[in-house]
């Protein structure tokens, strides 16, 4: 009781959380059961939104999961090796490398997407460079507006976020365990997979969860870089609120997406924890 009275200083923060997070999300959940009559959204308790979402958008949903899962796996893999490099190989440069990746963490979400658009475009940097070097004779259209371009830009955006938790968990691994492994005759691959990997499971799970969740929920990257092939669910959720005003459908799609994402994260966690006992 005394502890609760002393903790009044957490009240403003908790009020922000309650008033601007818990309440709006609860309302959104309620709205997902409302119905749309002509051009008005009315309180109701129907599953129209969920039904429509599953019938009309299951393919986009699967596409989203496919892109997000591959992005998550690619990002986490690169991040793992990069974190290993920072922690055990780069010596005193490790801190500088970590610093660089941190600096790009908060720098320009839209700027990054825009940069990839200019790099991968028909008249973009990569194409002009390839032509200039005589590798191809005419610009490659396949660079942009597909799953690959979306996954590339997302990986670029998410890499710093994924590196952080893995580096943090590798901090606790002592050099001596690596040396012990080498001493017992383990090769570099055995050391990496058998000694290092099991000790930073928590970091890997966090890295995958973060990169997968953010990728799955993103909508600006596929909007600018995805085309029809790389379309993701976020674009359609957003349009229910900005153009079509079908709030129940949009909310239902949002909750279905979050639910499937959570399932994927839990499965991934189980796989990583069980994988190497």
């Amino acid at each position: 009781m005394r502890e609760l009275i002393k903790s009044w200083k957490t009240v403003p923060s908790l009020a922000v959380l309650a008033g601007l997070f818990v309440a709006p999300l609860s309302l959104l959940f309620v709205v997902s059961f409302w119905s749309k009559k002509l051009f008005r959204v009315v309180p109701d308790f129907v599953f129209d939104g969920y039904q429509k979402a599953l019938v009309s958008y299951w393919d986009v949903g699967l596409n989203t999961l496919a892109i997000a899962i591959s992005t998550g796996i690619i990002t986490t893999t690169i991040a793992f090796f990069f974190a290993f490099f920072i922690r055990f190989k780069a010596g005193r440069y490790g801190d500088i490398l970590l610093f660089i990746s941190l600096v790009t963490l908060f720098g320009g979400y839209l700027v990054k997407i825009y940069a990839w658009k200019s790099i991968l475009g028909l008249e973009g940097i990569l194409n002009t460079a390839l032509i200039g070097l005589g590798i191809v004779s005419e610009p490659l259209g396949a660079l942009l507006y597909n799953r690959g371009s979306v996954a590339t830009a997302l990986t670029h955006f998410l890499l710093p976020i994924a590196v952080l938790p893995i580096v943090a968990s590798m901090r606790n691994i002592q050099d001596i365990t690596l040396e012990a492994g080498r001493d017992l005759g383990a090769g570099p691959v055995r050391i990496l997979l058998g000694v290092v990997l099991p000790q930073c499971r928590a970091g890997i799970i966090a890295a995958f969860a973060f990169s997968f969740l953010i990728a799955a929920g993103d909508y600006i990257t596929p909007l600018f870089l995805g085309g029809t092939d790389g379309a993701m669910i976020g674009m359609f959720i957003a349009s229910q609120f900005s153009i079509r005003f079908d709030w129940p459908l949009g909310s239902a799609m949002a909750f279905l997406t979050m639910f499937s994402c959570l399932t994927v994260v839990l499965i991934a966690r189980l796989a990583i924890v069980r994988g190497r006992k």
């Binding site: 941190l102 320009g108 997407i113 929920g217």
Partner: protein, 259 residues
């Protein structure tokens, strides 16, 4: 370890750093390029895209809006976040851990979901006009977790004997905070504030859905990318980049980055 594998690691490391930084470097580079297209050859060095941008009144409006929002957000978020973190740091873990996770949930959710939830909430339930104010509220939600986490992490190594000492010498809890706690954790709080600044300046989705009229720098960029590949985008992207990256760098310098 043999030589070749050592080289392999360095090659890989370099490749990752190039991958992370090149797109951003190119944007900065082309903002000074003569050519109207973002491709090679970029032509001579020029400041004309900046001139063109600075002559645009819409840009200045967006810039002012961004600074207004970020200013309020940084002050409020740092204030309430620091207060919460200091309190959480002294609670027993069974109470503080769940609260900490709850307070950080908003940054683990897709920003789009928060954006649409806030939109529906403002319009349908609260009945408030969308404005810079509603944007500020949304930014508080996604910046305070960073402040709380950073300050909370600092307090793990804080010597609470100092607070006892101050109390023992006659200071009440408010004076203790001002003369002892705050001066000692000042650099961490400044670091947290700068991270909040970077997050607010860079925030797009929540702003986009809850601002109604007007622009911030990110929504201004968004409008430009959508309509045309206007070369001034490079210039404004560079400005945005300089603002967020420099505040991140200063933040990490002052708080000696413990992530």
């Amino acid at each position: 370890m043999n030589r070749s594998s050592e080289w392999g690691w360095w090659g890989f490391g370099t490749l990752v750093v190039v991958f992370m930084t090149t797109p951003l470097i190119l944007v900065v580079l082309f903002s000074f390029g003569e050519s109207a297209l973002t491709n090679f050859p970029m032509g001579g060095i020029t400041g004309k895209w900046y001139d063109e941008l600075f002559a645009n009144r819409e840009f200045w409006k967006a810039f002012r809006n961004s600074l207004t929002i970020a200013g309020v957000v940084v002050v409020v978020s740092t204030g309430i976040g620091t207060m919460a973190a200091l309190t959480l740091a002294r609670m027993r873990p069974t109470l503080s851990q769940p609260l900490l996770i709850a307070l950080c949930l908003p940054v683990m959710m897709p920003p789009l979901v928060i954006a649409i939830a806030l939109l529906v909430y403002y319009v349908r339930w609260v009945g408030v006009e969308l404005s810079l104010f509603t944007v500020i509220l949304g930014h508080l939600l996604v910046t305070q977790p960073f402040v709380i986490l950073i300050v909370y992490a600092r307090m793990a190594t804080f010597n609470y004997e100092l607070i006892d000492s101050a109390r023992d010498l006659g200071a009440n809890s408010w004076i203790t905070f001002l003369t002892v706690t705050l001066p000692i954790i000042r650099s961490t709080v400044i670091g947290a504030a700068l991270i909040a600044l970077a997050v607010s300046l860079d925030e797009f989705l929540i702003t986009f859905f809850t601002i109604s009229g007007g622009n911030t720098l990110p929504t201004f960029v968004f409008g430009k990318i959508r309509t045309e590949m206007d070369p001034t985008i490079n210039a404004i992207a560079t400005i945005l980049l300089v603002l967020t990256v420099s505040s991140t760098i200063i933040a990490m310098k002052v708080s000696r980055y413990r992530a």
